[in-house]
Amino acid sequence: MNSPLSSTVLFTIGPVPINQAVLTTWAIMAVLVLGAALLSRRLTLVPGKRQAALELIVATLDTQIVETTGAKPAPYRGFIGTLFLFILVANWSSLIPGVEPPTAQLETDAALAVLVFLSVIWFGVRSGGLIGYLKSFAAPNPVMIPLNMLESLTRVFSMFVRLFGNVMSGVFVIGIVASLAGLLVPIPLMALDLLTGLVQAYIFAVLAMVFITSAVEDGKPAPAEAKTTPSPPKKDI
């Protein structure tokens, strides 16, 4: 049995080795970009079937973003929506025979988590300015600065290990069962894997959303009447 932590190099471009996860990622990127470009051509005011289906996806994403953050979805829709759709398609790509999901490799998940880490900084700085964002590390008092900095790293690390562990363990268990028991036995496990893939994509997007919102809200200068109005419940994860 191959180690789930290693990856096989297919070919190299110059000094850069290309393994199967990278190739699958490129394929998924191409499918998503081409699909979005083809499907969103000729948008009309009165939607047809194709446009109605697309609008359903976008509206569902918007509802989730609003319910998670309480903010307007427009600034976050692109990043969070892409994150969710990419991870979902990547997790479910294990259904195609011979394809191993790229999220079952450490590198892909690490890259996604780094994206979330950078976007938290980006949205935090954009809403509160650099000073406001840096001040949010000193909340509630300056003693917490090292802990807050550590937290911003560890929560991203835990996101990355969570996604990797869940997807990889699914693939690994299916591989073991298929090698032990034969052709049709792993099918229930694959069905379970579909659910896990969906939930993990959702969790990853929701957690990214929660982290971004907390950075945005902490960085804002506190309004004067903030003590009288009840603030929306902050998910502290």
């Binding site: 290990v161 562990g165 993990q200 957690l207």
Partner: protein
């Protein structure tokens, strides 16, 4: 087989075994509490189950950490290299 390999295999098994205990109990309690809440307030079922799923994935992460440690011990053990 030298004792390092033996210890690695045992520790991998122990990591997964004991690492699965806590999350299993915790997930049971979380689901029970969510069922209770849905039974009391069926109209809030959507919100509760969404929060439940997020919470379950959080709890599950501890078990996944143990799994990753076990795989590191088995496949990428720096002591055996």
């Amino acid at each position: 087989m030298d004792y390092l390999k033996l210890a690695s295999i045992f520790c991998a098994a122990f990591a997964v075994a004991f690492g699965a205990l806590g999350p299993a109990l915790a997930e049971g309690r979380a689901v029970a509490a969510a069922m209770d809440a849905i039974a009391r307030q069926p109209e809030a079922a959507n919100t509760i189950s969404r929060t439940l799923f997020v919470g379950l994935a959080m709890i599950e992460t501890t078990a996944i950490y143990c799994l990753v440690i076990a795989l590191l011990l088995l496949f990428a053990n720096p002591l055996l290299a």
